[in-house]
């Protein structure tokens, strides 16, 4: 199978990634949409999958398929080894000390629900505060709202400035009575990369724990939980070249050990009697039922791929393409970009275009083979803050090219032509 290669040669890309070699690893990039080559710019929603991940999934079902942690037969032992091996890969990928700190979930939303229902229910009460930010994805807001209605703790929000950065002047005040500060590493709308270390230091100083929503960070840049010093972190597999149906909550093991189980069932118990049960140890304590075995193993293959390309190189390449996009997009009449300058954001740009509705923008682009996202991107409070019902968003990954940005800009000129009154 083709392997991604690092090269110092630049060609028109001027990055350290050999993008053409990388593109050859992604079968879907060969398909056409409405007769034109697919230009996939919806990576913040989900990423495409390299051949290696697809082959790992089918290979698992063709050669290995069995339930894990149960059978003593060969297949079950192989499946268990691959499944737990993937956990070790993911743990090492994010700088965790040990695989048992990785709790598999269906996705990042489930990871945040696990945190809320297990840690939150055991630790939050009336008078306490959970601090979030105005730029959070719904998955880092709604679980806390549901739990707050039950337990009576308060939710406060760090506000967002016009340029899409957090307003941190009153952070010490907001952190008063805060038990948990839960915030995103990178906004999925304005693209802002938040100062995680600074926020974490402030939270710890105030006696609060930190949960980091790293969905938009882990796929795109080097992330080291020990260096960041956070306490919990959530991320999803499908945004980092892995399959859907697998995500993870990482937590410091002493915190996870102290947390009660949240879903009951098979695999999460040490023993069960008619009178009660004893939970299993980490990480299985939080993993009831047959897990997403193939998907976890597929995510392990995605991590192998990302490590081979290099996360620093991916981050650098995305920064270059984003800088380029932010130079070119304002050429389109009436286009307004949201969020901070390219050096303060990750690889995405949300924008509005005159009076054209984002759905119309996305539909016209789709006809040109270009996939972007339109809507509120599961961040309605942030859109309310900007008084925008919806935005259009182009988001990049390691296989995108500047030539694709050029075609996006060309497509947007066509939108203007069609929808100008």
């Amino acid at each position: 199978m083709p392997t991604p290669t690092m090269t110092q040669s630049t060609s028109s890309q001027s990055t350290s990634l050999d993008v053409e070699a990388i593109r050859a690893d992604f079968p879907i990039l060969e398909r056409r949409v409405h007769g034109l080559p697919l230009i996939y710019l919806d990576n913040a929603a989900t990423s495409q999958k390299p051949r290696r991940v697809i082959d790992t999934l089918s290979g698992y079902y063709e050669h290995t398929n069995a339930n894990v942690h149960r059978g003593v037969h060969t297949l079950s032992e192989e499946a268990t080894a691959q499944y737990e091996g993937a956990r070790a890969k993911v743990a090492s990928f994010i700088g965790s000390c040990c695989p048992k700190e990785i709790i598999w979930t269906r996705n990042a939303s489930e990871a945040m629900n696990l945190l809320a229902y297990s840690w939150g229910r055991a630790n939050l009460k009336r008078g306490d505060r959970v601090l979030l930010t105005e730029m959070e994805h719904h998955s880092n807001i709604v679980p806390w709202q549901i739990l707050s209605a039950e337990l009576g703790f308060e939710i406060a929000y760090v506000r967002v400035a016009d340029d899409g950065t957090l307003i941190l002047d009153d952070l010490p005040k907001l952190l008063a009575r805060t038990k948990l500060f839960s915030f995103t590493y990178m906004s999925n709308v304005v693209g802002t990369i938040n100062p995680v270390k600074e926020l974490t230091r402030a939270a710890h100083k105030a006696g609060a724990l930190v949960h980091l929503d790293a969905c938009q960070a882990v796929p795109h840049m080097p992330v080291d939980v020990q260096d960041l010093d956070v306490d919990f972190m959530s991320f999803s597999g499908h945004k980092m070249l892995g399959p859907t149906g697998i995500g993870a909550l990482w937590g410091r093991r002493e915190l996870l050990n102290a947390m009660p189980p949240w879903m009951g069932g098979g695999d999460m118990i040490r023993e069960v009697h008619l009178t009660g049960f004893k939970p299993s140890e980490l990480p299985w304590k939080f993993e009831a039922g047959t897990p997403a075995i193939a998907q976890a193993i597929g995510l392990g293959a995605a991590v192998d791929y990302l490590e081979q390309v290099g996360m620093a190189a991916i981050h650098q390449a995305e920064r270059e393409i984003t800088t380029y996009a932010m130079q070119r997009l304002p050429e389109v009449e009436g286009l307004r970009m949201l969020g901070p300058a390219a050096d303060k954001r990750g690889g995405l740009v949300a924008f509005t275009l005159g009076d054209a509705h984002p759905h119309d923008i996305a539909a016209v682009l789709d006809n040109l083979g270009i996939a972007i996202r339109a809507g509120h991107h599961c961040a309605q409070p942030l859109h309310e803050r900007y008084r925008l019902p919806a935005t259009a968003r182009a988001s990049f990954y390691l296989y995108n090219t500047k030539a694709e940005v050029d075609l996006l800009v060309k497509g947007l000129h066509k939108v203007v032509e069609m929808f100008t009154f």
Binding site: H357, P358, H359, D360, N367, A374, G375, A390
Partner: protein
Amino acid sequence: MDLYAEEILDHYKHPRHFGHLADPTLTFHDRNPLCGDEITLELQIADGKVADVAFTGHGCAISRAAASMMSEEIIGKSLDELREWDKESILDLLGIEVGPVRIKCALLPLKALKAAVWGLGEDE
């Protein structure tokens, strides 16, 4: 491009019956929170029939064109007739293929109309 047929874009750029009525009999407001589409539909009813109609709001080309075309069509129709309307009535008016994602845009004006004629929306 099928979705943006000339007639759709014409209704989008020059919506008919866009604005307010002096003294509407029925008013109904509805929105599609997922896209941020919004419509306020005002109906003037006389002798059980639609005498006049106006709408305001914002939305994509599909929802706005649907509102505009629907407004032209319903004048003179009785409330009983309008109660019979279903999604095919609107899709026939639009004359385009609307996929599963955009169908909500196309049907928002109908949703407001149905709520109004069934008497749910005696103002807000």
